[in-house]
């Protein structure tokens, strides 16, 4: 049995086994849509908001999903196991790499 995980942002969807983390299912199938970071609940780049469906969460960094947010349906895709089909929205993102980010830092520091 698999559940269907639908990403609202991109319209992409992928299947996920009941005991599998969303992000790993996506990566294993070579699908895209959710940013992939540490895959272990620490970095927050895979943060999603679950719009509908049932799921359970493993341990995750409270720096990225507070208890309140968890109650409000926010989750880390790498720590989230579905128990039904899910519709999710991607909230997390990869911060810009050193290159462009530094350009911004340079501007700020020089007051340009």
């Amino acid at each position: 049995m698999t559940f269907t995980i639908q990403i609202t942002d991109s319209g992409d969807s992928f299947p996920c086994k009941p005991n599998e983390m969303l992000l790993l299912a996506m990566v294993r199938l070579g699908r895209k849509g959710i940013p992939v970071g540490c895959r272990n609940g620490g970095c927050g780049v895979c943060k999603v908001h679950v719009k509908s469906g049932e799921y359970s969460n493993g341990k995750m960094s409270r720096a990225h999903v507070t208890e309140q947010e968890e109650q409000d349906g926010y989750a880390l895709a790498c720590r989230c196991q579905p128990s039904s089909d899910l519709v999710i929205e991607v909230v997390g993102k990869m911060r810009k790499a050193v290159h462009p980010e530094q350009a911004v830092v340079i501007k700020t520091e020089r007051g340009e």
């Binding site: 992939v36 970071g37 540490c38 895959r39 272990n40 609940g41 620490g42 970095c43 780049v45 341990k59 995750m60 960094s61 409270r62 720096a63 990225h64 990869m94 911060r95 810009k96 790499a97 050193v98 290159h99 980010e101 530094q102 830092v105 340079i106």
Partner: protein
């Protein structure tokens, strides 16, 4: 070369979300050895070839990252002298009594311009490397997983790079072996590699918007074959790899990066060069940053650059 002052990285305390999962990772998979636990529930580990009691301390918490990194100094006189220098530099300094970390002497803890906490200490109990000192074998039996040799360095992210580089060079006597320069005139430093001994780096620092972040804690292996073996362990146990096996231009390390069960990045690597204080400093420029970081494919990787704990 006579080694005085700050000798080497001595320990790092990492926050983990789940202690049992972390011990499976650090002990069974990476091959660190458990040597103590304390009342706070912290677990102490060491690489097999380290002589002191511990080099990694794991503390269970609700967010991952690094609590502090410590360096061993050659004597209590040096500890006192450096403490004075840190105060004059403007660091917030505190003395932590011997035994607060088991088997460790008094520590001098201080903050830094990039937002990380560091410690210096002169004494730690001797544990030995498991092969003894009389007619020793080259390695002990029963090592596990990747069989990491020792804790080697950390790469840290934070905002005031210039301030932290100054602290390490001017107060603690580190030498800057390599640096990365960016900006329109190439005069804006974005990364620094610093050594207190003869390694290409004992700590690396990268400019980043947030304070006090950990990019990775690194562990030494002794050959490329061992790096590939580490990669096999990661495949077998589905440990998420960040990138590698590959080589860095910077420091020449041959390396693989992966994540612990709390999302802290680890590195296992081999090779580098010997550095003497009369060697010239190496500079990398922004336009060659791809190869500076990943020498084989000569291109940057967004996750490697931006994912931190």
């Amino acid at each position: 070369m006579a080694m005085t002052g700050v000798l080497r990285p001595g320990h790092v305390q990492l926050r983990v979300l789940d202690m049992d999962a972390s011990l499976t990772h650090y002990v069974e998979r990476m091959g660190l050895i458990e040597t103590a636990r304390d009342e706070q529930g912290r677990v102490y580990l060491k690489g097999w070839d380290e002589q002191d009691w511990f080099s990694v301390v794991l503390r269970e918490a609700d967010e991952p990252g690094m609590d502090f990194m410590a360096f061993k100094v050659d004597s209590t006189a040096t500890l006192d002298r450096l403490e004075q220098g840190l105060r004059e530099f403007g660091c917030k300094v505190e003395r932590i009594p011997a035994g607060e970390l088991k088997h460790c002497g008094e520590r001098v803890r201080f903050d830094s311009p990039m937002g990380h906490f560091f410690e210096l200490y002169a004494e730690k109990d001797f544990k030995g490397n498991g092969v003894g000192t009389l007619n020793p074998h080259p390695w002990p039996e029963d090592l596990k997983g990747m069989k990491v040799n020792r804790f080697d360095h950390c790469l840290l992210y934070g905002d005031d790079l210039d301030g932290s580089v100054k602290l390490f060079k001017d107060v603690l006597g580190f030498n800057e072996t390599e640096k990365v320069m960016a900006g329109p005139n190439g005069d804006f430093q974005i990364a620094s590699f610093l050594t207190c001994g003869m390694k290409a780096h004992d700590i690396a620092l990268i400019r980043h918007a947030e304070k006090g972040k950990l990019h990775h804690a690194s562990f030494l292996l002794k050959s490329w074959e061992e790096v590939l073996h580490a990669a096999d362990i990661m495949g077998r146990y589905k440990i998420p790899i960040d990138i590698g096996p590959t080589r860095h231009g910077i420091t020449r390390g041959r390396t693989i990066y992966f994540f612990d069960p709390s999302g802290n990045r680890n590195e296992t690597f081999c090779d580098s060069y010997d550095w003497y204080p009369d060697h010239p400093q190496i500079t990398w420029t922004e336009d060659e940053l791809g190869g500076a970081i990943f020498y084989h494919n000569q291109s940057l990787n967004e996750r490697f650059l931006s994912v931190v704990t």
